[in-house]
Symmetry: C2
Subunit: 313 residues, 2 copies
Amino acid sequence: MKEFELISKLTAELESGPGVITGPGDDCAVLDVGVPGRHLLFKTDAIVSGCHFDADAAPEAVGRKALARCLSDVAAMGGTPRHAVVTLGVPDEFDVDYAASVYRGLNALAKQFGVTVVGGETTRNGDRLLLNVALIGDVAAGRAILRSGARVGDAVFVSGELGGSIAGRHFDFVPRVKEAAWLADAFDVHAMIDLSDGLAGDLRHVLTASGTGAELRGTAIPISRAAKDRARDGVSKKTPLLAALTDGEDFELLFTVAPKNAVAVLDGWKGAFPDVRISCVGKITSEPGLRLRDERRMMELTVGGFDHLAEKD
Amino acid sequence: MKEFELISKLTAELESGPGVITGPGDDCAVLDVGVPGRHLLFKTDAIVSGCHFDADAAPEAVGRKALARCLSDVAAMGGTPRHAVVTLGVPDEFDVDYAASVYRGLNALAKQFGVTVVGGETTRNGDRLLLNVALIGDVAAGRAILRSGARVGDAVFVSGELGGSIAGRHFDFVPRVKEAAWLADAFDVHAMIDLSDGLAGDLRHVLTASGTGAELRGTAIPISRAAKDRARDGVSKKTPLLAALTDGEDFELLFTVAPKNAVAVLDGWKGAFPDVRISCVGKITSEPGLRLRDERRMMELTVGGFDHLAEKD
């Protein structure tokens, strides 16, 4: 959304201040609040009925998703989530049992990730349910992985399988906190982001922040079964590849490492997380822009410019 | 609101976890995140059009108010606010200039209080504008002033003048950060809260948390000019005293100290803050409940039970 991009420009231009290592514009803010050897991570995020979930979604799933999105952001910095505060905006028609179920879903996930919910506010919110989670976490000082660190020649990796998240995984995805912490610990990861806007969109955020371009190999992009099913059944007009490139809310990790580390990352990951797919999908280039290479040709991927991919083979 | 009280019970029953000094139920959470000699304060709060401000309110005032409410909560713990993240939920009809003005108002206040805005998210939100601020601050370890510390015999103080905030002060109030920090530094403040629900309602929060009762002296309660004007002009059906007891959003401090310190607090405050009124309005009692004493009688103040005060003299 054009307006939202303009607003994010507004916030990116905010003045910095004491203790701010990284301000607006990355997955989390990075702060030095005086913890020896550690930096604090700080994030806020909201989901709203009719935008991020249907009004008839299970309240436990809604609560879970609101926290999971923030956990994914902390993961994308290589950090550990710690404490959350919650704002629940309730529509005129709601009952306490519904709110209790939202909190139940949120808390179950919090417990799983060692996060404690330390505050909750409630307000009226017209005809929408809104759930905002603000999260703090931490990371070793100087080790937060930013979007801006990609270097020319880097190998680009993604975890998991992409596309078709709307079929269900946007509710039950497991934030890649463990995997990201392992990566950050074992390798010199240059740049990382979590996939919320789709591979193409989020990779573009990395490229913009890093001042580089990238080339993706179409055959290397891991496509989810949901994306294939939705294309086959005509539920989505996108080809599976286009879905994997542009569908939102995968909440997988996208990261870059020096090419000399690529094989070690692949091997290490497969040993540590045999159930989570890892794919090297391309490389960082000095030529700006984002390109997709398949067997026959190279295509430029521009914002909203995927029409040439939209027809099925 | 009965439902909101039930939800706040839900959150108060959340499990605690590592680093949590004070969880849900006070003005801020208090956390030990490993800063030597300091505890972190963590708070979230939202304002919504049609609830906390009219849709035609100046956007700068809306941005200012959202942050000011959080600053007031950090003040009520005796703490110093540091970093904020903002979620802007926008209605279908909005423009970027409006959002820019919201941020302008918020930032101007942030600058005034040495707070840095380190993240901003934007989402659609049906037909309402919602502005959520999450704030972290800090306080000397073990020195956060809770609601639960009031002791029998304590003198009860309030800053400023109360009631009629809806006439304008709910937008332009100055959070009592400086005053609270001074108090926390100079005195053994037993309990503190900021007045958002009205003197009677917020004092009741202190009494519940502290397991005590209180007696207020009607003639000692500082009544704002706005409360008097609104009663005189018939804009409000409340007497000025009832308005001072029950109108919301005063955002003044209510605190208790041992009776032996009461005179020193009065004298010290008047020297330090000659422009901000300070009033000793009553005392903490072992007898539970909240009572109001005037020249002729003692009245029990129950929740929603102010009818006997509602007629004008």
